[in-house]
């Protein structure tokens, strides 16, 4: 695996430059591109095609690109996968909204022929605008079963909230799922961690539906959540103020092995006083307000890196894909994300890695769930 990054302004030249840096050996098997939303997607693909003719291309737009030397904004970052013992197949499912499960199943089918390989991972890049992304994972899980870990992320648009793009060979797509089946003779390992802690007593979901929470403890969910965290008055009435307040304060949902974080910042309903978690939060569930700071988040970065590398069963990593949540930037700040980058550099220890700040992380290793908010997800390859 090789990684290249270009800060060049021209989209085509940036792509050429990043791709040439990334391709270190002969005949790369896949180019994975993470590009700032400001780049011209068509020019960008033309550059990649020029630098590595005939190589399959996947990728998406970001809310910041992650690579050795610290995260950046506005760049084109390319990871090239190749080498002996590695097999890559790609697929795409379009018009995924409304048929998420089928879209997941369609791209998962690309990993089926690789069942004879010792290690398999299905990676998925999804359009961050698609709702109910869990169903994409359920569809993939239904095809592949428990044997294949799932990994990936949802495209971002630099907080413009107008929607990002996916790249698939020479095409620029929205409302799609790109699937990348990676099979290897060497171990691969997926990990995911978050750095949030529960605050106070749990709140019971007393009314919920369609991915929204209407009441907590029989009161309007928005007010209960804000009251619990002692929010400033403007967060009760102003959508932007709410978003800024909620970004570093996800809602925790109790699971057997811990509490999952749900990002509430983007789907508030000030009139109906309800909150949306982007994914299902069920009636009867136990939830907590959660907070975190740079320390707790960086601790999670360490845990995620440690777990990913340890999952390689003693073999040394040759590369990592690192998908961190766009919402973490609100807590970490510009300086904090550099600290996060430094931690990644330390764990990588010279091994190339690439990734981006996402609108949702995919990492399923245990159980059947795997779509996360406000986490760091890592795929390590040996």
């Amino acid at each position: 695996m090789g990684v290249g990054r270009s800060t060049a302004v021209g989209s085509r030249s940036a792509a050429v430059e990043a791709a040439l840096d990334a391709v270190t050996g002969p005949a790369p098997k896949l180019l994975m591109v993470f590009a700032a939303i400001g780049h011209d997607p068509t020019e960008l693909l033309a550059g990649l095609r020029e630098a590595a003719p005939g190589t399959p291309i996947v990728g998406c737009t970001t809310h910041g690109e992650i690579a050795p030397g610290g995260p950046t904004d506005g760049t084109v970052t390319v990871a090239a996968l190749g080498g002996t013992g590695l097999t890559v197949r790609t697929a795409v499912a379009e018009h995924a909204s409304g048929r998420q499960r089928d879209a997941g199943a369609e791209v998962a089918a690309t990993a089926e022929p690789l069942a004879d390989q010792p290690y398999r991972v299905l990676m998925m890049l999804t359009d961050g605008q698609i709702r109910d992304q869990e169903s994409i994972l359920r569809g993939a899980y239904g095809v592949l079963g428990a044997a294949v870990p799932l990994f990936g992320g949802a495209s971002a648009d630099g907080w413009r909230m107008t929607g990002g793009y996916l790249f698939y060979d020479d095409r620029v797509l929205t409302d799609a799922v790109v699937g990348i089946a990676i099979a290897s003779e060497a171990p691969m390992s997926v990990s995911v961690k978050h750095g949030w802690d529960k605050v106070g007593e749990p709140m019971i979901v007393t009314s919920a539906g369609d991915g929204r929470v209407y009441t907590l403890d029989d009161r309007p969910a928005l007010d209960v959540y804000l009251d619990r965290l002692g929010a400033p008055p403007e967060a009760y009435t102003d959508e932007e103020a709410f978003k800024q307040f909620a970004l570093p304060r996800p809602l925790g949902v109790q699971r057997r092995s811990g509490v999952e974080a749900r990002n509430l910042s983007t789907e508030v309903d000030l009139e109906g006083r309800s909150i949306g978690g982007g994914s299902a939060i069920d009636h009867g569930g136990l939830t907590w307000a959660m907070t975190g700071d740079e320390q707790s988040i960086l601790a999670a970065t360490d845990e995620a890196c440690h777990a990913a590398i340890e999952g390689l069963k003693g073999e040394a990593p040759v590369g990592m894909l690192t998908f961190s949540c766009a919402a973490l930037r609100a807590v970490l700040g510009d300086e904090g994300i550099q600290h996060e980058g430094a931690r990644l550099d330390k764990w990588a220890d010279g091994v190339p890695f690439a990734g981006f700040y996402t609108y949702g992380e995919i990492a399923r290793t245990r159980g059947i769930d795997g779509f996360h908010n406000q986490t760091l997800a890592i795929l390590a390859l040996a």
Binding site: A105, E112, A115, R120, R138, Y141, G142, V143, L144, G145, A146, A147, V148, P202, A208, G209, Q254, R255, R256, S257, D282, H283, G284, G285, L286, R366, G367, I368, D369
Partner: protein, 502 residues
């Protein structure tokens, strides 16, 4: 079990309940249940077995669900499950009873064995699944019953509607057939039929087209609802739309739209016609017309029942036309074809009937003077025309109850029923003499003829027709002998003179 773990398991049961009860069919509810159960226990594999098969499962690659392994867990033969690509997983199951028993099987990878709380949770989930499935089945059968009863109600309503329509059709047909049997005027009968078709089929236009007697390949509108006949000349069958087509093929014809309609039809209907249907009309087994219904409504389509209704109306038109035709033939047989007056046979029949009543009856014999001259100088056609005019003039001097007949040549006879005396008969005779002596314009020429009229009254003691005719005949000859253009009443002297040959 700690309070936290207990609270979590209560929460997980509630989540499962929320998930499965929000679904409306068994298949998706069971699929949701296996996913929720796997999620709650952070297990990779979950399956539901009922009736000896796996009805839902997660965690196995598609198409590779190992029934026998899962069943071994159900019957407690094993507490481990081999999951392809993952390895050996700890497994447990929970059963539920009731009318549709089943088993919920869970397998989790890793070292953690299932706690007592988790086993309890699985049992709770199985029980909840049983309740949910029972509820869904009850709802399903209730829904089916409701659907069945709604279907039955709809069928009943349709039957009632169809019976109502049938009744309306029968009612109208009885009106039509009564009109035919009473020999009401044909035009009136045809109008009754077109109006009935209009009311029963609901189309804006009904038209009866009949073959043009002078050009058998053309047809004319004879009776109609919703169209102006005056604007339409006779059309060739090809131009006459569905009616023309029905006349050509001899069967019911349905046309959609009028894209290919003739200019005449387009003009007649403002180019707005959307659908039409016509049935052929017969007269004595010959196709003589077509009964048409047509609509401006874009959604108008014709059902098999509509076709049958139109066919029935067309058959009634055929019946009326055939009956009228038969009547016409009968009329022709007993009436003089030239003048339309009763033939000699019919006249004698009517006279015999009249004499049998015993009423005082007068018989008038009318003979044109100098008819032969007209025939010889102006030709037979002029002679025929003179006879037609004569017949009309005779008829116009009579009451409806009187009978006029032509006996051949220029001989006419008149039967006056129920006269009060000789004076009545003489008055009619004199009126006839006067009327027939009026000049007539024939073949561009003024023609003057006169008539001699002989009058005889029936005797009180019953009399045969032949005797009365003989007496009227003698009186008529007497009128000629006395100078023509006059009428004479039969007397006994005339008989003697006649016998003497003077």
């Amino acid at each position: 079990m700690s309070d936290g773990a207990a609270a979590l398991q209560v929460q997980q049961l509630l989540e499962l309940l929320a998930a499965v009860t929000s679904l409306s069919d068994e298949e998706t509810a069971v699929q949701a249940a296996v996913e929720r159960a796997a999620q709650a226990l952070e297990a990779e594999v979950c399956a539901v077995l009922t009736e000896g098969r796996v009805v839902a499962a997660v965690g196995f690659p598609a198409g590779t669900v190992p029934f026998s392994d899962l069943h071994a867990v159900v019957v407690r033969e094993r507490d481990m499950l081999e999951v392809a690509g993952l390895g050996t997983c700890r497994a447990m199951s929970a059963a539920w009873g009731g009318s549709h028993p089943g088993d919920l099987v869970i397998a989790r990878w890793g070292d953690d064995s299932f706690t007592a709380g988790e086993r309890n949770l699985l049992r709770g989930m199985a029980r909840m699944l049983e309740l949910t499935l029972t509820m869904l089945r009850t709802l399903h059968s209730e829904k089916e019953m409701r659907a069945r009863s709604e279907l039955q109600a709809a069928e009943n309503a349709q039957l009632a509607e169809s019976l109502g329509e049938q009744q309306r059709l029968l009612l109208r047909l009885s009106v039509i057939q009564r009109a035919i049997s009473r020999r009401e005027p044909l035009e009136q009968i045809l109008e009754t039929i077109t109006v009935a078709a209009h009311e029963l089929l609901g189309d804006e236009i009904v038209g009866l087209w009949v073959r043009d007697p002078e050009a058998p390949d053309r047809a004319k509108l004879r009776s109609t609802v919703g169209l102006s006949i005056n604007r339409l000349p006779s059309l060739s069958l090809g131009e006459a739309g569905a009616a023309g087509e029905a006349m050509r093929v001899g069967d019911v014809v349905v046309l959609d739209g009028y894209d290919h309609a003739s200019p005449a039809i387009r003009d007649l209907t403002g180019g707005q016609l959307r659908a039409s249907m016509a049935a052929p009309v017969h007269e004595s087994n010959r196709i003589v017309g077509g009964l048409l219904v047509a609509s401006y409504r874009p959604d108008r389509g014709y059902t098999a029942k509509d076709k049958q209704t139109l066919r029935t109306f067309a058959e009634n038109v055929s019946l009326a036309l055939t009956d009228a035709h038969t009547m016409n033939m009968v009329h022709l047989a007993v009436h003089d074809t030239l003048t339309g007056l009763a033939s000699r046979g019919l006249f004698l029949e009517r006279m015999t009937e009249q004499l049998a009543t015993g009423e005082l009856t007068a018989l008038l014999f009318v003979d044109l003077d100098r008819f032969k001259e007209v025939n010889d100088t102006l030709g037979h056609a002029a002679g025929d025309q003179l006879l037609v005019v004569t017949a009309e003039r005779i008829r116009s001097e009579l009451r409806a109850t009187d009978v006029a007949g032509r006996f051949g040549g220029d001989e006419f006879a008149v039967l006056l029923r129920g006269v009060s005396g000789l004076a009545d008969a003489v008055a009619v005779g004199e009126r006839l003499v006067k009327s027939l002596s009026e000049p007539t314009l024939i073949a561009g020429q003024r023609v003057n003829v006169q008539a001699s009229v002989g009058i005889a009254l029936s005797a009180a003691d019953g009399e045969v027709a032949a005797e009365l005719m003989r007496r009227a005949d003698i009186a008529m000859y007497q009128a000629k002998r006395n100078g023509r253009n006059r009428c004479e009443v039969f007397t006994g002297e005339m008989l003697l003179e006649f016998a003497a040959g003077t």
